[in-house]
C-alpha cells in the first residue's frame, strides 16, 4: 500500500512515557477500502497506537498521518475524518441514547437538516432501535458496545479505528457487527484491534502483528500462513523404536527437527512431530521412509492456523539490546 494513497500512515513512530518506551519505530499504512486487523498480546502497544491515531496522545518521534492530516499539528481537522471506538465505550451514562448520539453528531459537524437521517442510519446499522429512548446507564453490555460503535460511525468518517469492537457481544451480535464493519470497510479505511483471531481471518484484508511495541509482521492472513509454512510441521503416530525412528526421519531431505514422545494411552506407539521445510512432497517422503520399516498409524501435515502464526510471532524473544 503506497503511503500517498493511504488513509492511515505511521512512519517510524515511537512513543515514550518517561524512560519507558511503549512503541518502537512503528511503520505501516492502511489504505482506503481496506480493513486491517491489529493483533498482539495485552500490553503490546495496540491501544497506544490506536490512541495516537485517534489524536488522544501524540507520538514522541515519527509521523502519524490520518486522512492526509499530520496528527502532530492538525489533529483537530483530522478528527473530522476519524471514527474512534476505544476499548471501553466512551458513554455518558446520564444521557439517553438519542441525546448522546446527537451530541457526538453535532460536534462531528452533522448538519441539523441531516441529523435525523444520520441518527437513523447508525441506529439501524448497530441495531439500537429498541433502546433509542433509554438512558445509557440502563443499557446491557452488548448495547453499550454497539452504541460505542454507532457514535464512531457518525458522520461517515474516512477512517474507522475500532479497539475490540465485538467485546461483550453475543454470537448473533458479533456476526451483525462484523457485517457492519465489512460494509463500512468497502470504501473506508478500518483498523481493527481484536483478540479474536477468527475475526481477523473473516473480515480483514491484512493483519498487523505487534508485540513489545514492535511491528513483527504485516501481511494478508494467507500471506502470513505462507510465510510461516516455511517451517511447517508433520505429525506422525508410529510403532517403532525411538532412536531408529529419529535417525530415519532426520535422514529424509526437508526434515529439520524431530521430536519423539510416547503416545498418550498407547504405550507401544510414538507420537512424532517433525519440523519440515516448505514445499510439497516432504510428507510423502516421510511416509515412505517410515512405512518401509515400521507400522505407520497416522500422518498429518499441519497447516499453520492464525493462532499458531500469532503465537509463533509473539513467542519469539525480542532482543533487549535492540530497544
Amino acid at each position: 500500500m503506497s503511503s500517498t494513497a493511504a488513509s492511515i500512515v505511521l512512519d517510524s513512530v515511537s512513543k515514550r512515557y518517561g524512560s519507558r518506551t511503549i512503541l518502537h519505530d512503528l511503520s505501516f499504512s492502511v489504505g482506503r477500502g481496506e480493513i486491517v486487523g491489529f493483533l498482539g498480546p495485552n500490553g503490546a502497544g495496540k491501544t497506544t497506537t490506536m490512541r495516537m491515531l485517534a489524536g488522544f496522545t501524540a507520538a514522541t518521534t515519527g509521523r502519524v498521518m490520518v486522512a492526509g492530516h499530520d496528527m502532530a499539528t492538525d489533529n483537530v481537522e483530522a478528527a473530522r475524518h476519524i471514527g474512534y471506538l476505544p476499548e471501553r465505550p466512551p458513554l455518558y451514562d446520564p444521557l439517553d441514547v438519542t441525546a448522546y448520539l446527537r451530541f457526538v453528531a453535532r460536534i462531528k459537524g452533522v448538519r441539523r437538516t441531516a441529523m435525523a437521517a444520520e441518527l437513523e442510519r447508525v441506529v439501524s446499522a448497530c441495531h439500537l432501535e429498541a433502546v433509542v429512548r433509554h438512558e445509557i446507564y440502563k443499557l446491557s453490555k452488548g448495547y453499550r458496545q454497539r452504541l460505542g460503535l454507532a457514535q464512531a460511525l457518525l458522520g461517515a468518517p474516512d477512517v474507522l479505528l475500532l479497539d475490540e469492537p465485538t467485546a461483550g457481544l453475543d454470537p448473533g451480535q458479533i456476526l451483525e457487527t462484523r457485517e457492519v464493519i465489512r460494509a463500512f470497510g468497502r470504501d473506508h479505511a478500518v483498523l481493527l484491534s481484536t483478540h479474536i483471531l477468527a475475526e481477523v481471518t473473516l473480515i480483514c484484508q491484512r493483519v498487523a502483528i505487534i508485540d513489545h511495541g514492535r511491528l513483527l509482521a504485516i501481511d494478508s492472513p494467507a500471506g502470513l500462513q505462507r510465510a510461516v509454512a516455511q517451517t511447517n510441521r508433520v505429525a506422525l503416530r508410529v510403532a517403532a523404536p525411538a532412536e531408529g525412528l529419529r535417525d530415519a526421519l532426520l535422514s529424509v531431505k526437508g526434515v529439520s527437527a524431530v521430536d519423539v514422545q510416547p503416545a498418550a494411552g498407547a504405550p507401544a506407539l510414538l507420537d512424532v512431530d517433525c519440523q519440515v521445510d516448505a514445499g510439497d512432497g516432504v510428507e510423502a517422503e516421510i511416509a515412505r521412509a517410515v512405512a518401509a520399516r515400521w507400522d505407520l498409524h497416522r500422518l498429518e501435515r499441519q497447516q499453520p492456523t492464525l493462532e499458531n502464526i500469532f503465537l509463533r510471532y509473539v513467542a519469539t524473544p525480542v532482543d533487549p539490546d535492540a530497544r
Binding site: 471501553r88 466512551p90 455518558y92 446520564p94 441525546a99 457526538v104 460536534i107
Partner: protein, 235 residues
Amino acid sequence: MSGVLAVYQKELSTYFRSPIAYYVVAVFLLGTGYFFLYNIVLAGETTMAGTFQNMGVLLVTLAPLVSMRLFSAEYTAGTAELLLTLPLSPWQIVLAKYLGALTILLLVCLGTLVDLVPLYFFGTPETTTILAGYVGFVLLGMACLAIGELFSIVTENQIVAALITAAVLLGFWFVGHLESFQRSDGLRGLVVYLSFARHFTDFIQGLVRTEAVVFYLVVAGIALALSAGYLHWRR
C-alpha cells in the same frame, strides 16, 4: 462554535441528571437564606453587605463541588477518550465546560434574588450597591470555577480535585490576613492584592474598581489558559 454549544449543553444535561447540582444549589440557597435572615432580622443590618460576605465564603467552599467533576468525571468514565478525540480544540473544550459550570453559578445568583424581595418591601436599599455586590459575586465565582476546572483537569479523582481546589481557594480568600505579618511593603501589597476577600469587599461596599474586575478576570484567564495548555501538553 457548534461544538462548544454541544459540549455546553451536554454539561448542563449531565449536571442536572446528577445530584451534585441540586445539592450545591440547595445548600447555597439555604445558607444564603439563613445568613440573610440572621443579618437583616436578628442583627438589624439594613444592607446586603453582611449577606454578600457570607455568600462569598459559601461560594469559595461550594465552588469545588461544582468544578470537581468537570474533567475528573470524564477521566473515570472513559469519556475523555471521546471528548479529546472529537474535532474540538483544547480551548473549546475548556471554555464549554467552564460556561456550563458558570451557568450553575448564575442560577444560584438568580435564586438569591428572592432574598431581595423583603429587603425592598420593608426598606429602601441602594440598588447600585446591591448590583455591585452581585457583579463581585459573579467575578469571584468565575475565578473560583476556573481554578477548580484546572485542578479537575490534572487529577482523575473528583474528591482530590475538590479538596485541592478548596485548599487553594481558601488560601486566596484568607491570604490577606497575612498582611500584618509582612515587614516588606512589597509583600504586604502582594498578599493584599492576591486576596479574594479584599477585592470582594470593594464590590460589597458598592465599589466596582477596574483593578478588582481585572484581577478576577486575569485569575480566571490564567487558570483557563493553564487548563487548555495542560490538555494540549498531556497529548
